[in-house]
Symmetry: C3
Subunit: 315 residues, 3 copies
Amino acid sequence: MKHFITLADLPDFHQTLDLAMELKNQPTKWDAMGKGKTLGLLFFNPSLRTRLSTQKAAQNLGLPTMVMNFSQESWALEFEDGTKMSGLRSEHVKEAAAVVSQYCDMVAIRAFASLSDKEKDEAEIVLRSFAKYASVPIINMESATAHPLQALADAITIKEFQPAHKPKVVLSWAPHPKALPHAVGNSFTKMMKHMDADFIIAHPEGYALNPKITEGITCTTDQEKAMEGADFVYTKNWCSYEQYGQILRTDDEWMITPEKMQRTNDGKFMHCLPIRRNIVAADGVLDSPNALVIQQSQNRIFSAQSVLKQLLENG
Amino acid sequence: MKHFITLADLPDFHQTLDLAMELKNQPTKWDAMGKGKTLGLLFFNPSLRTRLSTQKAAQNLGLPTMVMNFSQESWALEFEDGTKMSGLRSEHVKEAAAVVSQYCDMVAIRAFASLSDKEKDEAEIVLRSFAKYASVPIINMESATAHPLQALADAITIKEFQPAHKPKVVLSWAPHPKALPHAVGNSFTKMMKHMDADFIIAHPEGYALNPKITEGITCTTDQEKAMEGADFVYTKNWCSYEQYGQILRTDDEWMITPEKMQRTNDGKFMHCLPIRRNIVAADGVLDSPNALVIQQSQNRIFSAQSVLKQLLENG
Amino acid sequence: MKHFITLADLPDFHQTLDLAMELKNQPTKWDAMGKGKTLGLLFFNPSLRTRLSTQKAAQNLGLPTMVMNFSQESWALEFEDGTKMSGLRSEHVKEAAAVVSQYCDMVAIRAFASLSDKEKDEAEIVLRSFAKYASVPIINMESATAHPLQALADAITIKEFQPAHKPKVVLSWAPHPKALPHAVGNSFTKMMKHMDADFIIAHPEGYALNPKITEGITCTTDQEKAMEGADFVYTKNWCSYEQYGQILRTDDEWMITPEKMQRTNDGKFMHCLPIRRNIVAADGVLDSPNALVIQQSQNRIFSAQSVLKQLLENG
């Protein structure tokens, strides 16, 4: 793989999962692999799990890291071609990406959706520009439309807690006071296409994800029915895709509660975090032994490490 | 020791001091001890000495670090139980502490006092919440009411410059234009209870420290008399404890001057830094060979290293 | 050398260049040299290339680094002597520099010009104060009036692309919407005095650099004539030195264009970056194979590494 921008960049999804599980068993087995190389981590947005888990993954591979909060510590970037750069942006991504490639053997980037311009968000202008002008692999640490390292960690978690039967997995929208991106919902959906599971997406009217991504997948606006007999309930808020960036409702009808979880088949509760308690899910759901959110966060180490290892082997 | 939140958490104060002295003589004697482990440093407030000395201490033990400016780089945390998280706080400490524990083998935290809510400050809500929900040791890098790593460095410094006789040590309040916390004063006082010294606290009317902490210790409002014959003058400003968070006076009557130092027994001058020159102490005091402030800052490496080493051995 | 604040601090300019070239061929030849030591990087201003290239240089020498954004992460510093520190500044550089010296074996600092007070800028108050009060070497990562690590990287680049004949090198001013410092222009000029080249500086009326620095060097206000037959065109904006900090013009007459480059002897285009496209230089110039800006940025690793190595050998 040249870059890791979406799950589709993986040479083999299931081999990557197997590798991640192997790394979880022996995290430092390849701890000399990164010697002499450098991973750059560039953040355009806040991060807790991604920042720390990716650093830890690199450490397990003996791969030194350099972390930058790009917006605060560096120069404002221009992404448009042919502009007269007379405004606030001091450096073009053409130079920035090429320059960073001189110091880093791989560059991981976090750049969230604007949620104001659907076309630009879908063009993934930050990640795609870096990939175009860098001479080293670019790794997606959550972009405008995708969060593949999270989806990979979620896949590991589902595999670890898999029942004997083919599991039923529900991705359920939940309320949130702020407009949130579709990245996690998108990548989870794409990831589930690789899994042997009955997968269903539940969301209120007006909250359908990008239909190109959900093509072929059952979607419903009946949350309670969707959760019936589910083995895994993955919850996430996103803003409206059709009325791009809008919040259509903030009531708590779609909040995940212990009562709703009782309709499941002793279902596990999943969320990528951060999660707003008693808004997205009630305390009783998160404090239950069936909540897997901390296990998911732990698996972020091994999803990142499996991607870094494959990119190091290419190099 | 499970966590290092106050000096009382140390299994043995004097053995810790001896270990710190040993580490100062041979800083890299145990430089393979931290291999494969990770120390997280989470800052909710500014830091110079603590940030660098703790990193250096970890480096001496071969312990990789991950540093985060939590307020700027991560999500705003909720600490209250049972809240409907509809406001500005995106993540609950329950999740944050558990998640950080997946990536770090120890987590050091700096979270200053609010100085607006005595009860909350005394509950040490940040440090205690992390300690409650983390599955790894929490280390205090200055909390609302305590700065034990500073007190330990101060103890090392006093021991290094100890006269042949039982020393007289004065903790003297000094003026400051801003309302400052009691953490350093509190921890210095608690530390002095372990030392074989005549210890006295001098402060103006209205500036008594928490009486639970100063119980059994001589306190006076006569600074000059307190300094008479002193071997060590430890200076620090704090705001009023009784009229919590208030500044009652800003005149320079209590500033430490060379004239006042002449009343001492060739006394050493100590301060935790940062110090405002010609407000807390005059230039002549700080520029004198009797000032030990830089030595204190150096000993911060070994106070941190002695705590890290003990926690690593537990793990 | 005790500190590296200007090019004049180098014991031997040409041996340093040779060392840099050697390090470029074998970056990790001395990768155990920094063991047990620490390099502190203190930033008072934004940085991309300097931040990452200096870290990478240190990594190549096995030298651990601690990076601080001083203005955001630490305490505001006082630089004046004898002040009553009652304002916003919490710590004096006397203490800060001495303290940092306890934790770091070398300290690299970036502190830009104010462009409002020529006298203070020329006194290099930040770098010189740290050098005065630190007990370890101070390294200039761009100060008010100098950027010697950039100039060293530029010298390496010129050497790498040197024609068979004695080259003609032009330093040309170019327009910019913001008032920029003279540091790069100054250090490039000083560096060129060591090179065997015909060197000429072109700038519009009112934009002469400090005459003490350009003494003995041909200066012209005829950019096109200066570029005639040039082998290297080094471009950089700076604000007026005489009318200190002023922008006298923002028209694009002095922008470097492909047409102007045609007057050169297949001339190479150089710039320290970040560069504003179609303001300082047209897209066609930057996208041409004759642009060496990325090579310059790569050579920042080896200019820094050659300085770090020499300072490590001193210690």
